[in-house]
Amino acid sequence: MKTKKSLFLNALLILVIMFAFTASANAGGKVYKLGLSLAITGPTSDAGNPYSKGVEDYFKFANETKILGEDTIDCTIRDDQYKTDITKRNFEDYMDQGIVLYLNYSTGSTLGLKKDFEEEKIAVIPASFHRGNLENSNYIFLPVASYSEQVISLGEYVANNHKGSKAKVALFLHPSAFGRGPLADTEAAVKAGLNIEIVEVVEHGKDLDNTAMLTRLMSKGVQYVISQTVQSPVATMLKDAHRLGLIASSFGEEGKITFLGAHYTGGNDLIALAAEASENYFWVCSYNLTSENNEGTKQQLALAKLYGRDEKAANSHNYANGIMVAQVSTEAIRRVKAAGLEVNKANIYKMLNGMNGANAYHPYTTVGPVTYSPTDHAGVDMLQIYAVKNGAFKKVGVPIQSEYMKKIQ
């Protein structure tokens, strides 16, 4: 039985290889293989789906507009349903195919495969901005500032703008590695002097009603809730808070709660889900939003239009997220080529590490430049705070950078 299967698999493999050779021979240029494994279905697929579209569209665009000259990028995209086992299988498969750069998605699998990345010495850009990804690892490059940095900068924003004595803050977290990521760092920042008090840490379940939690927070005098989860639990919480009349009409209103959140808690879906309860929700993100209508987002919308994406995907910040990761990958390969080096794992890794100073890369999707160095593997360090005003996310102030993150690192 097994022999038969192995024969069959081998035959299949040979066919695939032959096919790949003929394909590359026809195209004229070289084909660089990349791999992306992400959750298109299953948990967090509401973010993964537009993300995959962004990656797919930009690589297609890069190939068609010949950003790499005659050479093309072949990025295989596979659904792993947020399961580390499947991610690992995909990764091994991609490695067998000889990829030069690996794009990953979930926090769980990025942490789980960290050792494999080290052993294979391959640069990895995950969609997870978990700071734990960077501990004891040299090959993981976060696209933007980590969740910890996002939550801490929200904490700083609270500390700076809160009137009165110490601001009382509660954290609302996803019950997973992804949600808990920033907890320890935020606590460390508070210890290092960040002027807020963390009153309670809530990990939400599949709640239909958050009344109990919200009234408890109120009784403890909490004025700010910082969320690190996905959109729909936040929307449910906001709706309950709205019903209870707890949402502050302006930042830091006395006796009410101001809600804030990190990257994956915000976006247009949140507004659609929570409707008017989302008003005055503060959100930190490193991407340009289409509701701001600037140069970058115009290009994003044009790309979406080119490949026939619907309104919803086109305006999603996770679509921008996917484009940005593809942009960074393409840029790294372009730079390796421009330097006259062979496009391989080692050289891409070197180029990514050299993406700083004058060499920083400015993709149109983000609010700041992508800067990597051997000591800093978080891409865009700038964070923009947005708030919902009249049903759309609008900028609040200029992009900021966290102070306390540097202190605790």
Binding site: M1, K2, T3, K5, S6, L7, L9, N10, L12, L13, I40, T41, N49, S52, K53, E56, T76, I77, R78, D79, Y82, K83, T84, D85, K88, R89, E92, D93, M95, D96, T107, G108, L111, G112, K114, K115, D116, E119, E120, G132, P175, S176, A177, R180, E203, Y307, G308, R309
Partner: protein, 364 residues
């Protein structure tokens, strides 16, 4: 017994002892030996990529787990919707050791066979405890009790900081007599280890079923009150069926931890439990060889769907939804079709094929 030990065209048993022989003819034994030799030899002849080797390892681990599930659900008739949790118990036993003594401690890296056995025993312990409700509950209620265990397991892993709150707990690379098993040989090495485990446990089940302990499982499944009247202890039998299943699952979990070199809670969710049940059913409940067919069929289908999806994805540019829809759709369809048209699973085809060859070239 007929004089010819190579070909037996009928039943010539004169004692029960003869009937209990593992191989009825020398031909059977030779075939089986040859098959084993092939299983052990082929990876040396064909160069396999890491991914394919990982897939095969994964199938074999599922075989170990499904053998356990088959004991409790197939032979003893107790539906368990929490089998992945037992596998998780095994994996987290290894992980707990890694957490307390470090993942590169000599016990983890050198005494891994011991770790695998310990995980199996811990799994058996939990199996016995979870089996306790079986003393009072039956049918659906028991199935739901095992579901509760699955949910409680997931909750504990996900919230306990000792288990790293469900994040991956890494497990170090193991050592063999030739030294450290490196990345290139990892899956290759574990293929042999798991294969040995599968063969040992397979013979274990086969022999168990010939003893009174094995037969009491089946008696309890068919009618536990009748079994009681005949002097068996149905309560004890049920608990020990769960314990056995827990042992197999625990071993599978430990193997999973070592092969994937990490333990994260996503691998032991309700979805996986359902997957194991599906494998047991497609393979054939209450048969030993069904435990081999099921995992092979389900995992292979999954993989082929992925290939097909990719091939289709080239023609359907934004058809991502179509391609990701294929996997659950075909998974469900296969289960339903088997239940409707072949409720006895692939094992039944095997039985038919075997009885055909036994009589060949005569039809009757």
């Amino acid at each position: 017994m007929s004089a010819n030990s190579w070909l037996a065209t009928g039943n010539f048993y004169t004692t029960y002892k003869q009937e209990q022989k593992t191989f009825s003819t020398s031909l059977d034994r030779s075939f089986f030996t040859l098959f084993l030799v092939i299983l052990f030899a082929w990876p040396l002849l064909f160069e396999m990529s890491n991914k394919n080797m990982l897939v095969i390892d994964n199938i074999l681990i599922a075989v170990v787990a499904v053998m356990g599930l088959n004991l409790v659900t197939g032979f003893a008739g107790l539906i368990s919707i929490g089998h992945a949790a037992f596998v998780g118990i095994g994996a987290y036993t290894v992980a707990s050791f890694c957490r307390t003594i470090g993942d590169t401690h000599i016990i983890i890296t050198h005494f891994w066979p011991l770790m695998i056995i310990v995980s199996g025993l811990v799994g058996a312990g939990f199996g016995a405890v979870v089996g306790l409700p079986a003393l009072r509950l039956k049918h659906l209620y028991l199935a739901i009790a095992t579901l509760s265990f699955q949910m409680i397991f997931q909750w504990v892993i996900n919230f306990a900081s000792f288990f790293n709150q469900g994040q991956t707990i890494s497990v170090g690379r193991v050592f063999w007599v030739t030294g450290k098993v490196g990345r290139d040989d990892h899956y290759f090495f574990w293929y042999y280890i798991i294969l040995v485990v599968v063969v040992l446990l397979g013979f274990g089940i086969r022999n168990l079923l010939k003893t009174r302990y094995g037969r009491s499982l089946i008696a309890v499944r068919d009618n536990d009150r009748a079994a009681d009247a005949m002097g068996m202890n149905p309560g004890l039998t049920k608990v020990y069926a769960f314990a056995l299943a827990g042992f197999f699952a625990g071993v599978a979990g430990a193997l999973h931890a070592y092969v994937y070199r990490g333990v994260g809670f996503e691998s032991f969710t309700l979805h996986e439990s359902i997957g194991y049940l599906a494998m047991a059913i497609v393979g054939g409940l209450g048969t030993l060889n069904g435990s081999f067919w099921g995992p092979v069929a389900i995992k292979y289908l999954d993989l082929q769907m992925e290939h097909l999806s990719e091939a289709m994805g080239q023609y359907l540019p934004s058809g991502m939804n179509l391609t990701t829809a294929m996997k659950p759709f075909t998974f469900g369809l296969v289960i339903v079709l088997f239940l409707i048209y072949e409720p006895r699973g692939i094992a039944n085809w095997w039985r038919i094929a075997k009885s055909y060859t036994k009589l060949w070239p005569f039809r009757y």
